[in-house]
Symmetry: C2
DNA sequence: GTCTATATTTCGATAGAC
DNA sequence: GTCTATCGAAATATAGAC
């Protein structure tokens, strides 16, 4: 009974998701501010008024996309929280980084949209108090790199490794013609090297 | 005769620069699209109409800020162009990276604004044909990492190092309470390590 | 669920007085 | 160089018919 007669709810979710997919694409390409409700609607074959049946505002669409990324981050957060203190977390950093790479790679588009629309997303979290301040991935990593009693050199190295992953993996990255799977492998190797003992 | 009686031109340049400084600040904080001409003008104590005496359009302000960064990039470009081929350039990469760090560090605000407004800047270069496609820093680096016959592993590593510098140095970076000079030193060490022979 | 039509607001830009 | 006043264009959002 899984494949037959979708509930009305499922029906509407389907259109919702089509909207979100197009929005994700346009927000990434043109930016949130330069993408109008009309742009999104016309891509889907109807008018902007119809869109307001599915979402109550433009910001709501962006919020939904943010929540998609937020959900993905929770797995990583759990891995972080399972460790006792800052030192233990730092020790596990290479492993966490590897999971981080997998997560970023599997959701490149979402991450890229997030990165290209930092301003719009900030304004969103400012009005909608949808989380305190640090319950998303970035906040958690930021906390780890700020609070801990780790040596500054280690913390800077960790921060740099995050940036290395982003630049190496994302679609608008600097390297062009390398097959994607190969690129992922090489990024893994690169950041792993950053935490290898130089014995 | 240098310190006395500024020319009318210098007088106006002074106001121009005040506008550009405020714009840089607001574009970084709120984003280009969410910053209105009025926002900028009122920060300086006059109305938006007055601003149009100094700049012919809002995009013109952004363009001017872009040119500031562009000018800084030329030194690095010259260093790159002085080297014969891709292989030689790759060999000199650590040294170029060190100069790159200096340049980014000395112009953090400008770089951050550039990074946070990629979309707006893209639209700018699309209308104003102010350079072909690759005569800015990013384009040059991109060319080096794409065209060359270097091994993919080296190219990915180079790209990652650029991202590492950005994330490590910029004001909205992940590490918080480390003194800036120390942070710069540690970033230098981190990326230098990425190209050390693992003998 | 989608449409047409419209209300409302905001913004970029210009004209012309001072 | 700065002002007031205004135009025109766009965008978000709503109302109500179908």
């Amino acid at each position: 009974m899984a494949a037959t007669s979708p509930t009305p709810e499922q029906e509407s979710v389907s259109t919702r998701d089509r909207i979100l997919d197009i929005a994700l694409e346009l927000f990434t390409e043109q930016g949130y501010d330069k993408t109008s409700i009309r742009d999104i609607a016309e891509r889907l074959g109807f008018t902007k008024a119809a869109l307001y049946y599915h979402f109550k505002s433009k910001a709501d669409i962006l919020l939904e996309l943010h929540l998609r990324l937020h959900a993905l981050g929770e797995q990583l957060l759990n891995a972080l929280d399972a460790l006792p203190d800052g030192a233990a977390r730092a020790q596990q950093w290479p492993r966490l980084l590897d999971e981080f790479i997998t997560a970023v790679d599997e959701n490149r588009e979402l991450v890229l949209m997030h990165q290209r629309n930092q301003n719009a997303l900030e304004a969103l979290q400012h009005s909608e108090r949808h989380h305190a301040a640090n319950d998303d991935i970035e906040g958690q990593i930021r906390r780890l790199l700020a609070d801990s009693e780790l040596p500054a050199a280690t913390r800077v190295r960790m921060a740099c490794s995050v940036g290395a992953v982003m630049t190496g993996l994302l679609p608008d990255g600097l390297v062009g013609d390398i097959p994607h799977a190969e690129k992922v492998r090489l990024v893994r190797a690169t950041v792993a090297d950053m935490f290898r003992d130089p014995a």
